[in-house]
């Protein structure tokens, strides 16, 4: 890594006093392009690469955590620098591709994004100052506040997470075991759905993953049902696994109904 000496490789002197913080490696690169007054399309790789490393050096001096993304970008830059040093072929009919092309495109794209986010920031700053009223809903259920057009998967997941959390809180473990009854048919359905042709599952592993003893028992009974209906076969391996294979047989509705629910 380039030593951040007094002369350095040309980072602004005040950075040694107050190191600016960037949104990420692309933001840093874009900034280096600006302070050096160079064009993105004709980026001086050696200079920028050295300054990038110098910046990382300053971060380390200040005991800042250098995020993995910066190290990854630093490695890309070193690779690019070495490619730039290779002699270019003078012959050839096809125009040679500039090794910087990909970096240039990424930076241009990121700059566009920066511009877009800055204009959003301006709008945001202004409109943060707008106040609305609490709605007064005559006779309306104050709880009916989720607009169906706006409810998304995130809300649904969050709601389910809440249910589970509340249930666990209100039902101490011992009590829950007593209350819970595990459906054999549900385990039957679950296993059938999981079992793809030629993709066996390890029965013991599957049973171990059940959330409770009760569920494991139900799953085991379901396996017995599956065997009875010749929907699966069981194969023991030398390694002590019990592999469950799906057979070709289709399951009829009557057969499914015959499984205790």
């Amino acid at each position: 890594m380039t030593a951040a000496t007094e002369t350095g490789s040309g980072l602004p002197a005040e950075w040694r006093v107050r190191l600016p913080v960037f949104e990420g490696p692309l933001d840093l690169l874009l900034h280096l392009v600006r302070v050096n007054e160079v064009e993105i399309s004709d980026i001086p790789v050696t200079l920028i690469c050295d300054q990038f490393h110098e910046y990382l050096g300053l971060m380390e001096e200040l005991d800042l955590d250098v995020a993995a993304e910066y190290l990854y970008e630093a490695a890309l830059l070193i690779q690019l620098k070495s490619r730039m040093l290779l002699p270019r072929r003078a012959d050839g009919d096809e125009p040679e591709e500039d090794p910087r092309q990909e970096l240039v495109e990424r930076l241009l794209e990121y700059r566009r994004l920066k511009e877009a986010s800055q204009s959003l920031a301006e709008i945001h700053g202004l409109r943060m100052g707008i106040w609305t009223r609490e709605p007064d809903l005559p006779d309306a259920d104050p709880d009916e506040r989720l607009d169906l057009g706006e409810v998304s998967l995130y809300d649904l997941l969050k709601a389910f997470g809440q249910v589970i959390e509340r249930y666990d809180r209100e039902h101490p473990h011992a009590l829950r075991l007593a209350v819970e009854t595990w459906s054999v048919r549900k385990q039957f359905d679950r296993l059938l759905e999981r079992l793809a042709p030629a993709r066996p599952i390890d029965l013991l592993d599957d049973l171990r993953r059940r959330s409770s003893r009760g569920e494991a028992v139900a799953a085991f009974l379901a396996v017995l049902e599956l065997l009875r209906l010749r929907l699966v076969r069981l194969h023991g391996t030398g390694a002590g696994e019990l592999l469950l294979y799906r057979t070709d047989r289709a399951v009829s509705d009557e057969e499914r109904e015959s499984v205790p629910s």
């Binding site: 106040w131 309306a140 259920d141 009916e144 989720l146 607009d147 249930y167």
Partner: protein, 193 residues
């Protein structure tokens, strides 16, 4: 000293955003002492601006302890109709929770839902059936033969899913909700005034 027009604008904005009657003393506090007369005049101007007229839906009125903006009582019937219609496109948190249980545990019976939520859910189930987000998928062959519920195609459309297999497992949500990377957390926190 503050411009009369600006004081009027501030008074109107405060009354609009407040949702409760605001007395003159609280408004006077906002401005330097020598604006006193202008503030009182501004309150009168706003009262006048929102005086009752047949084409006005909002009125300013003096009530205990101050001035407030409110809809004209004659329009209550219209407002009720508006919010009734709107209510049909809304879901309560209770409904969303129930929908989530049906989505993840289907086919699931009423009693099972009640067990998980800890409260009777039949009214909510009715709402969800009406909105066509869930359907009856048979009866559970246990005592009382309760209905079993499952989600509908409408449900998939609403949540942008192509099939039930696309429903993310709860662990995936927990990952989304609690990303482990310190750097990412830092980023979210680095919001400046």
């Amino acid at each position: 000293m503050t411009e009369q027009a600006e004081i009027e604008a501030v008074v109107e904005a405060v009354l609009f955003a407040a949702n409760e009657p605001i007395g003159e003393p609280r408004l006077l506090e906002l401005f330097p002492d020598d604006d006193r007369k202008r503030v009182l005049a501004a309150v009168d101007a706003v009262l006048e601006r929102y005086a009752e007229r047949p084409n006005r839906g909002v009125m300013a009125e003096r009530v205990a302890g101050g001035v407030r903006l409110a809809t004209r009582p004659e329009l209550a019937g219209w407002l009720r109709r508006f919010f009734d219609i709107r209510g049909r496109q809304r879901l309560s948190m209770a409904a969303l929770e129930t929908l989530a249980i049906v989505a993840y545990r289907q086919p699931v019976s009423g009693p099972e839902i009640q067990e998980l939520r800890g409260v009777n859910s039949s009214a909510v189930l009715k709402t969800l059936l009406e909105r066509r987000l869930i359907r009856i998928a048979g009866r559970k062959p246990v005592v009382g033969k309760p209905f079993l519920y499952a989600t509908t195609r409408e449900f998939l459309v609403q949540f942008g899913l192509s099939s039930l297999q696309d429903l993310p497992p709860l662990e995936e949500f927990e990952e989304l909700a609690q990303p482990g990377s310190g750097r990412a957390v830092e980023e979210a926190a680095a919001s400046s005034e």
